[in-house]
C-alpha cells in the first residue's frame, strides 16, 4: 500500500514518457508479446477442448437419465458461483503454486459448466413431435441420438462452445497468480513495474482481439458444419 500511495502522486495524469500506446513498445517487444499470446492460446485451446470432451457426454447422460440432470445442474451452478481465484486457491496446494495444471483444471471446469448447461438446454429443446415421428420411423435410441437429437441440438452446443471460448480467453489472465496467465502476466507485470501503460494496453487489446478472432473462427466452423442454419441468419 505504501508504494502505491507514494507513486500514486506521480503516476496518473498524462506523462509523455508513459503513453497508453506506443508502436516502439510493440516493435521492441514483439517476441515477448508473441510468447505470451502463444501461451494464452495454448491454455485456452487445451482447456476448451478438454471441457468439450467431458461436457458433451455428461450433458447427454443428464439428458438421458432424468434423475441425474437435477444434481448435475445444481452442482455446476454451485461451482459457477465460486470465483476463479478461490478455485485456484483450492487447487494450488495440491497441484503446485506455479503449475499449468492448476490453471488448466480451473479453466476447464468453468468452460465445462457453460458447455454442459448449453448442451442440455439444446437437447431438451428438440421438439417432442420430431422425436415421435423418428420413433415411428423405427429409429433406435442410438440412431435417434446421432441422427436426430445431436444435429438438432448442434446450434445450441456451438453457442455454448463460443461463450465458453470467449470467457476462457478473458479468464486465463487470472492465472497470472499461479504463474500461467498468458497475456495476463504482461497486464499485471506492467502494473507492477511502474504502471507501464503501453504494455498493459497492448496486452489487453491482444486479449480482446484473441477472443474476437476465436469467436469468429467458431462462428465460421458452425456455418460450415451446419449449412441449414445459414439461410436463417442471412
Amino acid at each position: 500500500m505504501v508504494h502505491v500511495a507514494v507513486l500514486g502522486l506521480g503516476a496518473p495524469g498524462d506523462d509523455p514518457r508513459n503513453p497508453w500506446f506506443s508502436w516502439s513498445y510493440v516493435s521492441q517487444n514483439t517476441d515477448t508479446l508473441l510468447a505470451a499470446l502463444r501461451e494464452h492460446l495454448f491454455l485456452t485451446i487445451v482447456a476448451v477442448s478438454l471441457a468439450t470432451v467431458i461436457a458433451i457426454p455428461l450433458a447427454i447422460l443428464a439428458y438421458r437419465v432424468g434423475s441425474l440432470s437435477g444434481p448435475i445442474l445444481g452442482f455446476t451452478g454451485v461451482l459457477y458461483t465460486i470465483p476463479s481465484l478461490a478455485l485456484f486457491a483450492f487447487l494450488a496446494p495440491f497441484t503446485g503454486i506455479v503449475a499449468p495444471t492448476t490453471v488448466l483444471i480451473g479453466l476447464t471446469m468453468y468452460a465445462l459448466l457453460t458447455i454442459v448447461r448449453n448442451t442440455l438446454t439444446a437437447l431438451r429443446q428438440v421438439p417432442a413431435d420430431v422425436l415421435d415421428s423418428a420413433r415411428g420411423m423405427g429409429y433406435g435410441r442410438r440412431a435417434m441420438l446421432w441422427r436426430i437429437e445431436l444435429p438438432l441440438a448442434l446450434p445450441g452446443i456451438m453457442t455454448g462452445l463460443r461463450i465458453a471460448t470467449v470467457s476462457t480467453v478473458a479468464l486465463v489472465t487470472v492465472g497470472e497468480l499461479a504463474g500461467w496467465g498468458g497475456l495476463g502476466e504482461l497486464i499485471i507485470g506492467g502494473f507492477a513495474s511502474n504502471y507501464y501503460r503501453p504494455q498493459i494496453m497492448t496486452a489487453t487489446l491482444l486479449c480482446v482481439a484473441l477472443a474476437l478472432v476465436l469467436d469468429l473462427i467458431l462462428l465460421a466452423v458452425g456455418r460450415v458444419i451446419m449449412p441449414w442454419t445459414r439461410r436463417r441468419s442471412a
Partner: protein, 241 residues
C-alpha cells in the same frame, strides 16, 4: 502436516481475524466495495434498461454489451482504471466492478418490462393511463421479479469479481489468497486454502441470502419468473471472473 491442517490452524489463530489486515477488515473492504459497485451499476443500468424495455428498442445493444463484457478481462480494467484520471484507490476498483454488474442488471430490466403481457398493457392504455403512468403502475410492478433476479446475479458476480482487486493491491478477501501465494507453498499453502474457502463461502452465502430475501419479499403471484427457462442456459450465466 497437510495443507488442510495448515489452513485450519491459520483460521484458528484469532490474530488472523482481528489484525488490521485480518479477515474482518478484509471482509469489510470486500463488502463495501461490492455494495458500492452494485449500487452504481443499478443507478446506471436500471433506468436505461427499463426505458429501453418501455420503448421496445435496444435488444441487440443489450446482447452486445453482454458479449463484450465476457471478452474484456476483469484484470485489465482493474489495472487500467487506476492509471487514468480516476487515480488509485477504491473509486477505480468500484467503477471497474460496476461495469461487470451492468450486463445482468440491464438485460433483466429490459426483459422484465419487455415481457409484460401486451394485453395488460393494452388494458392499461384503454383505461386512459399515460405512458408514464403505464410505466409506473403497470410495467414496473410486473418487472419486479426480473429486477430482483438481475440484482441477485449482479451482486453475486460483483462479490466474486471483487476478489480480483487483490491483483492491484485493492483490498478485499482476495488479498489473503494473494499474500499466501506470495509466501510460497511451504509457508503460505494453508493461508491460500483458507482464503479460498472464505471467498467461496462468502459468494455462496450472498447467493443464498439474496435468494431467500427474494422469496420472502416477492408476492406469490409475481414468482412465476422462476419457472420460465431462459432462451439459452448460458444467457443466464454472467461473465465469469
Amino acid at each position: 502436516m497437510s495443507v488442510i491442517d495448515d489452513a485450519i490452524v491459520w483460521l484458528n489463530d484469532p490474530l488472523n481475524w482481528t489484525n488490521p489486515d485480518g479477515i474482518f477488515a478484509r471482509l469489510g473492504e470486500h463488502l463495501w466495495i461490492s455494495a458500492a459497485a452494485v449500487a452504481l451499476g443499478c443507478a446506471v443500468a436500471w433506468p436505461l434498461g427499463v426505458w429501453m424495455g418501455h420503448v421496445g428498442r435496444g435488444g441487440p445493444a443489450v446482447v452486445t454489451v453482454t458479449n463484450l463484457s465476457r471478452a474484456v478481462p476483469t484484470v485489465a480494467l482493474l489495472t487500467i482504471f487506476p492509471l487514468t484520471a480516476i487515480g488509485f484507490g477504491a473509486p477505480a476498483i468500484i467503477l471497474a466492478l460496476s461495469l461487470f454488474a451492468i450486463p445482468p442488471l440491464l438485460a433483466n430490466a429490459y426483459l422484465g418490462v419487455r415481457e409484460v403481457d401486451p394485453e395488460v398493457r393494452d388494458a392499461g392504455r384503454g383505461m386512459g393511463l399515460s405512458a408514464w403512468q403505464l410505466l409506473r403502475k403497470v410495467e414496473l410492478p410486473l418487472a419486479v421479479p426480473y429486477l430482483a433476479n438481475g440484482f441477485r446475479v449482479a451482486a453475486v458476480q460483483v462479490v466474486a469479481t471483487a476478489t480480483l482487486a487483490a491483483y492491484v493491491n485493492g483490498g478485499g478477501l482476495g488479498m489473503i489468497i494473494s499474500k499466501g501465494f506470495g509466501l510460497g507453498l511451504a509457508s503460505g499453502g494453508g493461508q491460500v486454502l483458507a482464503g479460498g474457502a472464505l471467498v467461496a463461502l462468502l459468494c455462496l452465502a450472498v447467493e443464498g441470502i439474496l435468494a431467500l430475501v427474494e422469496r420472502a419479499l416477492l408476492p406469490k403471484s409475481l414468482r412465476r419468473v422462476k419457472h420460465r427457462p431462459p432462451a439459452s442456459a448460458a444467457d443466464a450465466l454472467p461473465a465469469r471472473s
